[in-house]
């Protein structure tokens, strides 16, 4: 077992947790969950079997991570983000729906790529990918893939700009984007972006 911390009121049922990771009060991590090193998992979080979390990930309080979700390195999940894994949800106990839940065909995946941020209370529909370093605004409803470095807001989420790897909105000058905070520079053309 690695050197991780879990609060006395937390339930941790997996041993696949990296060094330096901290799991806080009333959190519940099920068996068959993989969590990297140096992560922070807030109070009242729930992580279901099958979820994979990378290194340096921050999961704020009250998050529910369901089977089918992968969070890559350095992701930020704000408080109470809503992940889903079923596009046609019914109670599996409902007689008319039981057949659909006999196999795992109902399960759709969600991938949040490295360095991306999900704002408080964002709703992430299943079968989507959030691109690397994208920033999803608080309270957004995301029903389509989000491009890398994109800043999206609203319901449904739409892109209103680009963000730096450090999180600050880029200033655009022709085909160049510059971060006013850390001075990183990017090439932007035809709705595509790449670091310079």
């Amino acid at each position: 077992m690695s050197d991780f911390f879990s609060h006395s009121t937390a339930i941790v049922e997996t041993e696949q947790i990296g060094s330096g990771t901290r799991i806080w009060a009333y959190a519940h991590v099920m068996k068959e969950v993989q969590i990297g090193s140096n992560c922070n998992i807030g109070d009242h979080s729930f992580i279901e079997s099958g979820v994979v979390v990378g290194n340096n990930v921050t999961i704020k309080n009250g998050n529910m991570l369901f089977e089918g979700l992968v969070l890559e390195d350095g992701v930020f999940v704000g408080p109470h983000v809503f992940f889903t894994n079923d596009l046609h949800p019914r109670s599996p106990r409902l007689p008319q729906a039981k057949m659909r839940y006999k196999s795992h065909d109902w399960l759709y995946k969600t991938l949040v790529k490295r360095g991306a941020s999900l704002g408080a209370g964002a709703v992430i529909l299943a079968d989507t990918t959030i691109g690397e370093y994208a920033l999803v605004g608080a309270g957004c409803v995301v029903s389509h893939d989000v491009p890398a470095y994109a800043l999206v807001v609203g319901n449904p989420a739409r892109q209103i700009g680009w963000v730096c790897e450090c999180g600050i909105t880029l200033k655009e000058d022709g085909q160049t984007g510059v971060c006013p905070s850390c001075s990183r520079r990017y090439h932007i053309k035809d709705q595509k972006i790449s670091p310079l």
Copy 2:
């Protein structure tokens, strides 16, 4: 007492729970709650006195069910759905509002009829009825009644189609709706639907 399961960290203060129902970690079920058989109640849920839950209901994690709510048989409540029971909320401790909270006149009811599904993070305003087998999309804000079998999305929620009892969106051909998954058929006319 019937044969139900509750996790060692859950608080269950009612005995009116049906056989086969399971209540998970850090959940709190108050006294004077009625829950049917074969239900599943997720981690970090809270069920207030006066709530009535039918049979075969699935309540995902982090749900708060307040007085005035009835969930009929086979309902699905996604993670962190928001129920309310007060259309003009104030702190009952605020001197200017105290008078309004002396009786129970402030309390409005919510009814979710059999087989309906509420997506993750949906907000259900009080004094509404969700029709049988309706499907409320993730992140919706529902401020009016939802018809039976209706698929609603957005803020405010609006109807964009019809769903089968099994949960799949119907394909419409004139006045007939057919489920591409289970082949159930429906008659649709003048915004009304009935199984054939």
Copy 3:
């Protein structure tokens, strides 16, 4: 220490809690939190160091109150309201973002003034002030200051009326607003309101 109640499963790490305040199951109140008297703090709530809560405040279940938040006397926080304190969130563990989190410059404040109400699942972006006796509808996304006594709904939140100190929507007659419940009267002119 004052005479407050905390449930046996709650974690309370501050002693600055006023008389008559009640803290319920699975709630976690960190050190260096200040809470007034006669408050009610629901199950599964989390209050971070640095938060200040006045007297007669009602905090419903599942709320996460983060550093930088001040709730004045008599405020109502509905279930699962989303507070934030970072307008450009990144994992502080992400190498590219670490520099921004070395000081506290990233932290923005939120002020909810006396008697205001925040509906279930409302998202309150940081760096905003909710005016006294304002009412924020359930599921709103608030990204700008809300005027005193304003009723706001939607995403983004927009004003659709005025509310009385008791919580009921005012009836407007020229420059006078009258509460149909408690008969309080207000002068309304040029988008400003004051009690008569």
